[in-house]
Symmetry: C2
Subunit: 196 residues, 2 copies
C-alpha cells in the first residue's frame, strides 16, 4: 500500500492527472479507485474537489471544446474571405489540438455512454458544422475546386487533423506545433503536388 | 440460454463473426465465451476450426495486410513516374480500406499486447515505410512541392485515409468507395483550392 500523500491539488492539477488516466484506461474503464491511486490521495479527498468522475470528464472535455470554439471568435475567423477564414481555423485547430493534446485526445475518444459524453458529442458536431459552413461559403465564393464535395471534404480534413493525436508527442524531438500546422494548411489547401 | 445451432461455419464465415466482435469489444476485451455466443456455436466447435482467438486475430489482420501489400505489386504501383505510382497507391489504399472495412478497422486498432499484434504493427510499419519511400521518390523527381516535409506529409496522408474507418458505413446512403477514393486523391495531390 502506498501512503496517501497530503492533498495539495487544485481542481486544475487534479484534472490533469484524471485526464491522463482516462486516456490510458478509457473513461468507462476508470474507477474512482484508479483516480485515487494515480493522484496518490484518498477518494474522499477527490470528492472534496469534485462530485465524481463525470464532473472531471465534463471539465476536461469543456477545456478542449472551449479552446476549439474560441477559435471561431478570433477576428481572422470572422472577417475576410471565407477561404482565408477557413485557413485560419484549420491552422488554429491544429495548434489548439497540440497545446491541449490530452484534453482533445479525450474529447475525440468520447463514445456517448453518459449524459456528459452525449453533450460533448453534440458540441463536437456543432463545431464540425460551423467549419463545414465555412467550407461551403468558400465554395460559393468560387475559391474551392468545384469537383470537391463539401461534406466529404470536411470529414477528410477533420480526419487528417484529428489523426494528429495518435502520433504527436510533445516530448519527442520532431516537428513543432507550428510546423505541423503549416504542413496541414499546405496539404489541405494546395495538396502535395507542385503547381504545374 | 440460447440453444447452440448446428456448426455450419467455414473458417471464412467464422472469421467474419469474430472480427465484428473484436471491433465491438476490443480484442483484449473479447473472450472465447463472447465469440461462442456471437457465433451461436459451442467453444469446442470453434476450437474445431481454429486454435483460439489469437489465430482468428492473425487471420483477420493478415487479410487486411495482404490486401494492402498486394497494392504495391500492381503494375501501376511499380511502373512509371513516382508521383503517378503514389497516386495509384493512395487511391487503392482507400478502395481496399473500404472493401475490407472490418478487417482494416481491426488492423488499425491493434495495440501490441500479444505477439500477433506486434507482428501486425511491424508489417503496418513496413507498409507505411514503402509508401513514404514513394513520396520521397516523387519529391526527388521534383513532383512534390519543396516546402512539404516527407515524414510529416506521410503521417498526415495516412491519418486522412485511416480516419475513413471511423465514419464510413457501407450500408448508409452516401459516397461510394470510388467517390471517397476520388476525393482523397484530389485533396492529397491538389488540395482544396482552385488553382490560381
Amino acid at each position: 500500500m502506498t501512503t496517501p500523500r497530503r492533498d495539495t491539488y487544485t481542481p486544475e492539477t487534479l484534472l490533469s492527472v484524471a485526464v491522463q488516466v482516462f486516456n490510458q484506461r478509457g473513461y468507462d474503464g476508470t474507477s474512482m479507485e484508479h483516480l485515487s491511486k494515480a493522484a496518490g490521495i484518498s477518494k474522499s479527498s477527490i470528492y472534496h474537489h469534485v462530485s465524481g468522475k463525470e464532473e472531471l470528464l465534463k471539465r476536461a472535455v469543456s477545456r478542449a471544446l472551449d479552446g476549439l470554439f474560441a477559435i471561431l471568435e478570433e477576428p481572422a475567423a470572422r472577417e475576410g474571405q471565407a477561404v482565408e477564414r477557413l485557413a485560419h481555423v484549420v491552422r488554429r485547430m491544429v495548434e489548439v489540438l497540440i497545446s491541449e493534446l490530452p484534453y482533445v485526445t479525450l474529447l475525440l475518444r468520447v463514445r456517448g455512454n453518459t449524459a456528459t459524453e452525449r453533450w460533448a458529442l453534440e458540441r463536437r458536431r456543432d463545431f464540425d458544422h460551423r467549419v463545414a459552413e465555412l467550407l461551403k461559403a468558400a465554395a460559393a465564393d468560387g475559391d474551392v475546386r468545384p469537383d470537391v464535395e463539401v461534406r466529404l471534404a470536411t470529414r477528410l480534413v477533420f480526419g487528417m487533423i484529428n489523426s494528429i493525436v495518435e502520433w504527436y508527442r510533445p516530448e519527442a524531438r520532431g516537428a513543432s506545433g507550428r510546423e505541423v500546422a503549416d504542413a496541414v494548411v499546405q496539404l489541405v489547401f494546395s495538396g502535395l503536388c507542385r503547381a504545374a
